[in-house]
């Protein structure tokens, strides 16, 4: 008899071996993590954000440790879409997990061009549209902050690609549910959230902000309660599946996000601290599903909403 996998799930037409996915930008193009565990354990590999042209990233300090958190200002350093396809896709294609390509643009045209270019690339299973990266001055921030701009980018990418479309939301907004509804109406197949929260730190000796760009993105355990709340709100607001992330470090954290309504969960900063975070969470979730007496973890999805 075939062994049933209690963690198997599906999302936007993709079948995932587990709800665990990498959070974009925290796991490069998965080469490094592949030295620590079998990537087949991942429901999907979400790669580091790709832009049309290569980007060298931000000058100066890029990281600041905060209480149970991390502020980053990487500035979307990446080789650009062409080099990504020729240099990284051959390795990614050999892994036993679907590949989701995270894309960022400075203009609507760039998002459209990225969607077009990636549409027919063998091995690319879905697009995750980053409308929220707070690091790049001229970058995605503007798109994620308004329902109109967020919907426009979503529509545009939809028009230029047949691939399942995941839109990644910024938490730096007043009404996350409204943005979620706007991208759902514009054709998104799934929503991922949250991207990093805007934060900053000041050097008290020089009396200047530490980051050249003043603000950076806060991630890690410190943001988990905010992320969980937003996933809970978005689950109620839309019908499309949600990939929840933000500070997930243990299987208990992952279980909370699933109970709040997440179909899949992203592991980011936790993998940077502990490259074995994914296998550890995987094992814990499996045991939890069994203890809860469910055949599949999906049965627990959104349970926190039940009266």
């Amino acid at each position: 008899m075939e062994k049933i996998n209690p963690l198997a799930t599906s999302l936007a037409g993709l079948s995932l071996s587990s709800p665990l996915v990498t959070a974009s930008g925290t796991c490069g193009y998965a080469r490094e993590l592949s030295e620590f565990f079998d990537l087949g354990m991942l429901g999907a590999i979400v790669v580091k954000g790709i832009t049309l042209a290569p980007r060298t990233g931000n000058p100066g300090t890029r990281l600041i440790e905060t209480p149970a958190g991390l502020i980053n200002s990487i500035g979307l350093e990446n080789p650009g879409v062409e080099k990504f396809i020729s240099g990284e896709m051959p390795f990614l294609r050999q892994q036993h997990a679907p590949v989701i390509v995270n894309i960022s643009g400075n203009t609507e045209e760039e998002y459209a061009a990225l969607a077009t270019r990636l549409d027919k690339v063998v091995g690319v299973s879905a697009l995750e549209v980053n409308i929220s990266c707070p690091n790049v001055k001229t970058g995605g921030m503007a798109f994620g902050a308004s329902t109109i701009a967020a919907a426009r980018v979503t529509t545009l990418v939809r028009q230029h690609s047949q691939l399942p479309l995941i839109v990644k939301l910024s938490p730096n907004v007043t009404d996350i549910a409204a943005i979620a509804r706007a991208v759902e109406e514009a054709g998104a197949d799934a929503i991922s959230l949250i991207n990093t929260l805007l934060g900053m730190a000041i050097d008290i000796e020089t009396r200047r902000p530490i980051l050249r760009g003043t603000f950076g993105g806060l991630s890690g355990p410190a943001i988990k309660p905010v992320a969980l709340r937003m996933v809970y709100q978005v689950f109620r607001a839309v019908k499309i599946p949600v990939i929840g992330m933000g500070g997930i470090s243990t299987w208990q954290d992952a279980a909370e996000f699933i109970l709040a309504g997440a179909t899949a969960v992203g592991i980011g900063t936790a993998s940077m601290v502990n490259p074995l975070a994914v296998p550890t969470i995987h094992q814990g979730l499996q045991a939890y599903a069994t203890r809860q007496g469910v055949r599949n973890i999906a049965e627990l999805r959104g349970m926190a909403h039940q009266q």
Binding site: E32, E35, L63, P67, A68, N72, S271, M272, P275, L276
Partner: protein, 267 residues
């Protein structure tokens, strides 16, 4: 890309002792890391099993003992993470990853090597000196400190044949002044085949200028705040001297050829 697949696991504390008022040496039993490690590489240690402090702390390998299956790091207590590490007790289990990064390149002509160390920059030189002395190459170490309390390692380095010359502005060393002034004087007197430097940014920058002027090839071991130490996050950068893009200190370094690094950089 890292040369070896790094080991991530738990190691037992074999020793954690104070060697100077603020400087400690932590020795861990980790045969996998000891077997693979090369001088100039580092380990990334979790100071707490909780999530605060969140990030691991990187330290150069200060001892590599393959026979015993142990490695050591020599560290200065400067903040919360190193404070917690100084509390590690004998037998305690420590979560670490290593060996990480690229170490010193020792395949170049190095019959007579020169080490330039500033403060805790002394840490990686003992295992390097061991490799050199096994090949009967000679080494001189110019070692700058702020005061006598900062001195560590001198007798250990001397035991394996390194000529150590200390420099201090407070007069506690052989040479009264900055280690880079000592370097300038030394380069006028003696020819070296290869230079290695580790220490604060300004010291490395001045060392590069002096060594390049003296046509002495120089490798520098760099520091930066790091998150993963594995190349996942691209957070620990320093500019390349090509003026275009960045080195990632955790995977391209921490040891780089000085001429490839643009030291004009500062936050």
């Amino acid at each position: 890309m890292v040369e070896h697949r790094p080991h991530c696991g738990i190691a037992e504390v074999v020793e954690n002792i104070k060697v100077a008022p603020k400087i400690w040496r932590l020795t861990l039993c980790t045969p996998e890391i000891a077997a693979a490690a090369k001088p100039g590489q580092f380990v990334n240690i979790r100071a707490s099993s909780q999530y605060d402090p969140l990030l691991r702390r990187p330290f150069s390998l200060n001892r590599i003992d393959r026979a015993k299956g142990t490695i050591s790091v020599l560290y200065r207590v400067v903040g919360r993470g190193t404070e917690l590490i100084s509390l590690f007790r004998l037998g305690e289990k420590v979560d670490l990853i290593g060996p990480l990064g690229k170490g010193f390149a020792t395949s170049h002509p190095r019959q007579n090597s020169l080490f330039v160390a500033g403060g805790m920059g002394i840490a990686p030189f003992f295992p390097l000196a061991q490799v050199l002395s096994a090949d009967k190459a000679t080494a001189t170490c110019l070692y700058g400190v702020r005061c006598a309390d900062d001195l560590a390692e001198v007798s250990h380095l001397e035991t394996i044949g390194v000529k150590v010359v200390t420099a201090s502005e407070d007069g506690c060393g052989h040479y009264h002044g900055k280690v880079t002034d000592l370097l300038a004087a030394t380069l006028c007197q003696e020819d070296f085949s290869l230079g290695f430097a580790c220490g604060p940014h300004a010291m490395l920058s001045a060392t590069k200028d002096l060594c390049l002027a003296a046509k002495l090839p120089l490798q520098v071991s760099l520091e930066s705040i790091m998150a993963c130490g594995l190349g996942l996050c691209l957070g620990c950068t320093c500019p390349k001297s090509n003026g275009e893009d960045y080195w990632h200190i955790c995977t391209d370094g921490p040891v780089l050829w000085a001429e490839e690094v643009d030291f004009a950089w500062r936050r």
